[in-house]
Amino acid sequence: MHEGEADPDLYDYTPYRGRAKITWPGGKSVAVWVAPNLEYYEIDPPTHPKRKPWTKPHPDVVGYSHRDHSNRVSHWRMADVMTKHGFPGSVSLSVAMCQHHPEVVADGVKRGWEFFSHGIYNTRYAYDMSEEQERAIIEDSIATVRAATGQIIRGWLAPALTHTPHTLDLIAEYGLDYTCDLYHDDQVQPVKTATGNLVSIPYSLEVNDHYGFFVYNMSPREYADTLVRQYERLADEGGTVMCIPLHAYLIGQPHRIGPFEEALRHIAADGRAWLTRAGDIVDAYREQIRSAQR
């Protein structure tokens, strides 16, 4: 990026109208991927000069234990519903989960899920990291996920969405090929980096369960309806990507999981959705762009 300038120069302006048509495998019109955030929040993390990890003095009992609900209870509830309706996960992983709760990570592996890095902990923020420090968390992520799952991570969602001016260049240099941190489009798009071959894949803040329940204060049924509307529109337009970013401690609560299952049932039954993983979407996009250029 252009550090310190008004335009960070992340990508070129490419209007939605007039783009080359993208068709997903099997002639599907919308690629749907589900992104469970499997996170670990530390109970007593060091304080970062730019962001407090918890609003209360430690221990923030509700903050910590609410998130712990994911790993004790609601991960399995959420994952079973996804599997039942044919939705694989592409996991945004606090990679220290591989040490704290390897049972949760192993469950994702068993279900055929893809893993990408969401930093070491969701309570360690990247702001102000030196290039060496940021290289250390990228190298840690690659090595930790490889040891735990056998997978080489391809993607990055910055820990707690905290960045440095170097993040995108560095992940591209290490061979990662998609970022989930840019929200400027409903399609896969190229990202400008010093080296490498990075694209942005639509993740979503707007239909993220955290936004649904804690920014927009939706009821469980309103959130399920939001997912269906988002899906219907993107399927109508075609060539699009829909991400459903989740946190088990939110969507896996007993009053939310039933309406959520109905939304998945609707999307799976519609017939226009390619239910897939982030890396597969990026591969299908690259293949079509290569074909169009031949």
């Binding site: 530390e42 399995w76 704290h100 070491i120 360690r124 329940f213 049924r221 009053h255």
Partner: protein, 301 residues
């Protein structure tokens, strides 16, 4: 500016938790339990009885629902006290109609100020659990340990005097604890607390204290006051939660955390009464107090 090198060191990166208060376990890997009568969903109604001094205290923090305007804030003082005068009696009548017992998480100031109410709660067979002294009695790390110990003792002694029984359970204001709280609760002879919202069954802390999770996400405060949803939506969400848990089949707890000044308003109480009538008819439902749930769980460990 760069970060201290220790910012990317992780001394507690290990199997299980980064603390030693309780052990890691996933709910489905534990020895299964079953509620009395072969029921699977324990419905635990827990009512918060709160008295907000008109002079609020911000140390360590101001309680949710507390006084908001410049002194004297008659508006919030009285609107909260409405719950203790009127709303709670609607709840007591509703519980009687549904034939169920509840837990009342009670500020000891309520026992001192409104003994008639405590007598009515005890006479109906409900459980009283301790909920600090009054809504200025908040706890967080930073409160001197002797002050916290004294606050817990004052709450328990006063409630024991009013009810004739020492409370077995404790709910902190806003579920907020200090590092010392679990040990202080244990030292005060408490059997269980309700503050940690990470599970759908009771579990034991390493110091012997049991935690019975009172899920804040399912509370009337969260759904109606924070998320601004209707009483009908609240009731539907509780039905959806019950249906899901009953479908899972394994023993679970569905907490109904109720606040008289929120749920027991004339235009909301009907939705709760209908919900209780509905849940009462479900074959999987076991209506129980906190102590009954903890007891049934403990007997199967």
């Amino acid at each position: 500016m760069t970060l201290d090198p220790s910012y990317i060191e992780y001394p507690k990166r290990r199997h299980g938790y980064d603390h030693e208060m309780y052990r890691w376990s996933a709910i489905h890997e534990r020895k299964p339990v079953i509620w009395p009568g072969g029921k699977s969903v324990a419905i635990w109604a827990c009512v918060s009885l709160e008295w907000f001094p008109i002079v609020p205290n911000d140390t360590p923090f101001r309680a949710p629902g507390h006084i908001q305007t410049a002194y004297p804030d008659y508006r919030h003082y009285t609107a909260r006290d409405y719950g203790n005068r009127v709303g709670v009696y609607r709840l007591l009548d509703g519980f009687a109609k549904a034939g169920m017992k509840a837990s009342f998480a009670t500020n000891s100031a309520i026992a001192e100020r409104y003994p008639e109410l405590i007598a009515d709660i005890v006479a109906a067979g409900h459980e009283v659990i301790a909920h600090s002294t009054d809504m200025n009695g908040t706890i967080a790390t930073g409160v001197p340990v002797d002050e916290e110990r004294a606050l817990i003792a004052r709450s328990l002694e006063s409630l024991e005097r009013a009810t004739g029984t020492r409370p077995q359970g404790w709910l902190s204001i806003a579920r907020s604890q200090s590092w010392d709280t679990p040990d202080l609760l244990r030292e005060a002879g408490l059997r269980y607390c309700c503050d940690w919202v990470n599970d759908e069954l009771p579990y034991r802390f390493n110091n012997g204290l049991i935690n019975l999770p009172l899920n804040h996400e399912l509370s009337d405060r969260q759904i109606i006051t924070v998320q601004q949803q209707s009483a009908d939506s609240y009731a539907q969400q509780m039905r959806d939660a019950f249906d899901w848990l009953a479908g899972e089949g394994a023993a679970r707890v569905l907490p109904l955390h109720l606040t008289p000044y929120i749920m027991a308003l004339p235009y909301r109480i009907g939705a709760l009464e209908d919900l209780l009538t509905d849940l009462r008819s479900r074959p999987q439902a076991w209506f129980a107090t906190g102590a009954e749930i903890v007891g049934a769980w403990e007997a199967q460990q």
